[in-house]
């Protein structure tokens, strides 16, 4: 399990470097997904499979899709199709593809040796049952506060993201709040 940890860490660091040096934000998000997948592998090796699943579902799924939606809302111009054709060249996706295939080979290796003793799952496995009992036992106040935080996030995003509608009144022009 040592070598899988080192390979995943190297993939995470490399893809994060590629994230902060890209000029096109879609390329950066592609590398960001690979970075999250590599970190999920690290979590799995560390004996936290529930956190690894949450990392993939929420970070690499929901948050990245949310950022992509906002990018698509921001620049919808006429040259979008030409830009799309320009983006979809092999040199764009070959880097994330290679890093993702490294992670795939690592996953196949972990599953392949999974049931053979000490090289399989780590011994100090903290499964989701223990996490759930702790989350709804001694951390129940934190869970409720997280719910209030998410509610504040929904209300704040709705209030900030609303475009002010401009209506022409019969007598005077006003900006509707």
């Amino acid at each position: 399990m040592e070598i899988t940890f080192y390979i995943s860490g190297a993939v995470a660091i490399l893809s994060t470097i590629m994230v902060i040096t890209r000029f096109n934000i879609i390329h950066a998000l592609l590398y960001l997904v690979v970075s999250f997948l590599a970190l999920a592998t690290v979590f799995f090796i560390m004996g936290a499979p529930f956190a690894a699943a949450l990392e993939i579902i929420i970070y690499a799924g929901a948050i990245v899709v949310l950022i992509i939606f906002v990018i698509m809302m921001l620049n919808l111009k006429g040259e979008a199709i030409e830009q799309e054709r320009k983006w979809l060249t092999p040199q764009v996706w070959i880097g994330p593809a290679i890093l993702s295939f490294i992670l795939l080979g690592e996953l196949i290796y972990i599953i392949g040796i999974g049931n053979s003793g000490a090289a399989g799952l780590p011994s100090q496995l903290v499964d989701s049952k223990a996490v759930g009992k702790s989350l709804y036992g001694q951390y129940i106040l934190g869970v409720e506060l997280s719910g209030m935080l998410l509610m504040a996030g929904i209300v704040g995003a709705y209030h900030l993201g609303r475009q002010k509608k401009k209506v022409i009144h019969r007598f005077l022009e006003q900006i509707e709040e």
Binding site: E2, F5, Y6, G9, A12, I13, T16, I17, V19, I20, I25, A28, L29, L32, S35, F36, L39, V42, F43, M46, G47, A48, F50, A51, L54, E55, I58, Y59, A62, I63, L66, I67, V70, I71, M73, L74, P122, S123, Q124, V126, A130, V131, K133, S134, L135, Y139, G142, S146, L149, L150, A152, G153, I154, G156, A157, Y158, H159, L160, G161, Q163
Partner: protein
């Protein structure tokens, strides 16, 4: 889980946090700065996971879930702010939003 891997995990978390901080400092696009803040939050979560793995306690993963919740709320509000900035200033340059005026 031996001591060496704990040290390497904390080093990985520190490296990722430093990369996110560098990204916040060197980029001027607001969306890039938001993404780099996500990287820094993720590195902090990795540190919690490593520490929870050392003592085999679920508290690290509980803290990771709280960080995840906070990151989700933060990215939604941040993206709404980016939409407003793009709507009002017609750019994503963070230096263009350097003046506070109502």
């Amino acid at each position: 889980m031996n001591e060496i891997q704990i040290t390497q995990g904390l080093l990985l978390a520190g490296t990722l946090f430093m990369l996110g901080l560098i990204g916040v400092l060197i980029r001027r696009n607001i969306i890039f700065m938001l993404v780099c803040v996500e990287i820094m939050l993720n590195a902090a979560g990795l540190a919690f996971i490593v520490a929870g793995s050392k003592w085999a306690q679920p508290d690290g993963q509980v803290m990771f879930i709280f960080i995840l919740t906070m990151a989700a709320a933060e990215v939604s509000v941040g993206l709404a702010l980016i939409l407003q900035i793009h709507h009002q200033l017609k750019t994503l340059d963070s230096d263009a939003a350097s003046e506070m005026k109502g």
